[in-house]
Amino acid sequence: MTPGFKVLSPGLHTTVQDLGRVGYQALGVPVSGALDPLTFRLANALVGNAEGAAALEILLSGPSFEIIADRVRVAVAGAGASLVIDRGARRVPAWHSTTLSRGETFEIALGHRSASAYLAVEGGIAVPLILGSAATYVRAGLGGFHGRALQFGDIVPIALDRAAERTEKRLLLPLSTTDAHPVRVVLGPQQDLFTDDAVTALLEAEFRISQHADRMGMRLDGPHLRHRSGWDIVSDAIATGAIQVPGSGQPIVLLADHQTTGGYPKIATVISADLPVIGRRQPGDAVRFAAVSVEEAEQAAHEAERMLAARIASFAPVPTHSGDIDLNSLYVGNLISGVVTASE
């Protein structure tokens, strides 16, 4: 029997993702992939996978599964999330790997501190690669598990029937979520099509993520951003993180499943180091923006990469007696939290 997870309840929108389908945007194929690639990579690292191995993305409400394999190593990553095993007999917090056996059930509880969480499994989810990627793009039915979100009764195939026997790992310094810092953007490419007041409002006002948020983009409630003259531009290409403003003046941050091209002006673009932060925001959350130069954005990208490597290098074994005080973890946590960058 093929090893896998049987879906007992699918959650709101649970999809197989990886780091995206690269190389086909010229043919109109969106990149897709994890909304929060940083958390996604940490989830894979915790179970010993390559960073881009296929894993599950969980949005807003968590699924539950039954294990159909001898021994499965999983880790859930995402602020506030946890694994609830066998209806609460055991709980494993986010950022810890753990091992489950055949017949055990588990639920991913989100905890409502982040819109997204990731479940990685040692060896990866075993779906066929479509155009080089396991990422699900639901609108065209491409990739992932039959091109769609998981449904009740699905059996999600996994690569390994028996995970390796080894010590479990945990992350000592989780990503912070009390994120008062503004999301950094590079203005443009079409900020000159907006009034000066619109650019000022983007950088000074507080916006809120509206209910209209999905993997394609999130609409922001807040001041309307006015165009100088028309808003119907000749279509050009779109980058993930672009903040496009249609005729209504209500900005939309374009996310992983955004169309490759579009005909609305883009006032600014979220920098790559802060895309993971956007990927964690949920309807009702406040968001502010701050402008940086491209050079600063490039430095931030390098810094984010260094921080990720530091986090992975500081993975610690999970203590076998949970009552013990873990001095090493306290020490490393204090040490590294002193240098956490402004983006988190």
Binding site: Y24, G28, L131, V234, D236, Q259, T261, V294, E295, H302
Partner: protein, 240 residues
């Protein structure tokens, strides 16, 4: 013309050659696209040619906007015509009955009769400016001016796959069922996007397309032939 370099965050750079849908602008976009593909500067992930600009997606850990701009500027200085990789495709279209739900309305709005619309739509060799909106969705032009109409005031929630549509100066094909605001004047049984094919999209930017009218019986026969995998779409290389 000297193009504008526009930063799109720290992972994309747009090289913009104009602000209109124009064959001359498109030629420059596609020429730079080809030059970069032939000799890609370090750090480029992929290119997306559009009507008026080329988007270069890059890895900010492997290069920088400053390095890329310098490398692309050098490529712009090299005069290079794209080689004849483009093709002219002949696409069968049924412009009748249920296949053409908006034909009567287009006739009313343009003051033409249906037969004229079909003749005009089929009289032109269309240039594929770009793909976007959906996998394999081609933006093609230019329509004969008599057929130019704004988009529908009331977009459809569901446009069937294979629909041939017109709006503004352009014509397009919906490779997937999707919402859409263009006028549907026909349908083709040809599959324009198939992820199991290499390349997955039938058309690429720079290709040309000609539509040839077929009746409903031929539509059904071709669709059956495609399902059996024995239909060959007629095409020929375009002379440089």
């Amino acid at each position: 013309m000297i193009p504008r370099f526009l930063s799109v965050g720290d992972r994309a750079l747009a090289i913009e050659f104009g602000d209109a849908i124009d064959r001359g602008v498109s030629r420059q976009v596609l020429r730079l696209d080809h030059a970069i593909r032939a000799d890609p500067p370090t750090g480029i992930v992929e290119n997306v040619p559009t009507f008026r600009s080329l988007m270069v997606h890059y890895d900010p850990l492997a290069t920088s906007r400053a390095n890329l701009e310098a490398a692309i500027t050098r490529l712009l200085d090299i005069e290079r015509e794209p080689p004849a990789v483009a093709r002219l495709w002949r696409i069968p279209v049924c412009y009748e009955g249920q296949f053409a739900p908006d034909l009567a309305e287009v006739a009313q709005q343009t003051g033409l009769v249906a037969a004229d619309i079909v003749a005009l739509h089929g009289a032109v060799r269309y240039h594929v400016y770009m793909l976007g909106f959906l996998p394999g969705f081609p933006y093609m032009g230019d329509l004969p001016p008599e057929l130019a109409l704004p988009r529908r005031a009331d977009p459809r929630v569901r446009v069937p796959a294979g629909s041939i549509a017109i709006a503004t100066t352009l014509t397009a094909i919906y490779p997937y069922e999707s919402p859409g605001g263009w006028h549907l004047i026909g349908a083709t049984p040809i599959r324009f996007f198939d992820p199991s094919r290499e390349p997955p999209s039938l058309l690429a930017a720079g290709d040309m397309v000609r539509f040839e009218a077929i009746g409903p019986d031929a539509f059904v026969a071709i669709r059956r032939s495609i399902e059996h995998g024995d239909y060959v779409i007629e095409s020929e290389p375009i002379e440089p």
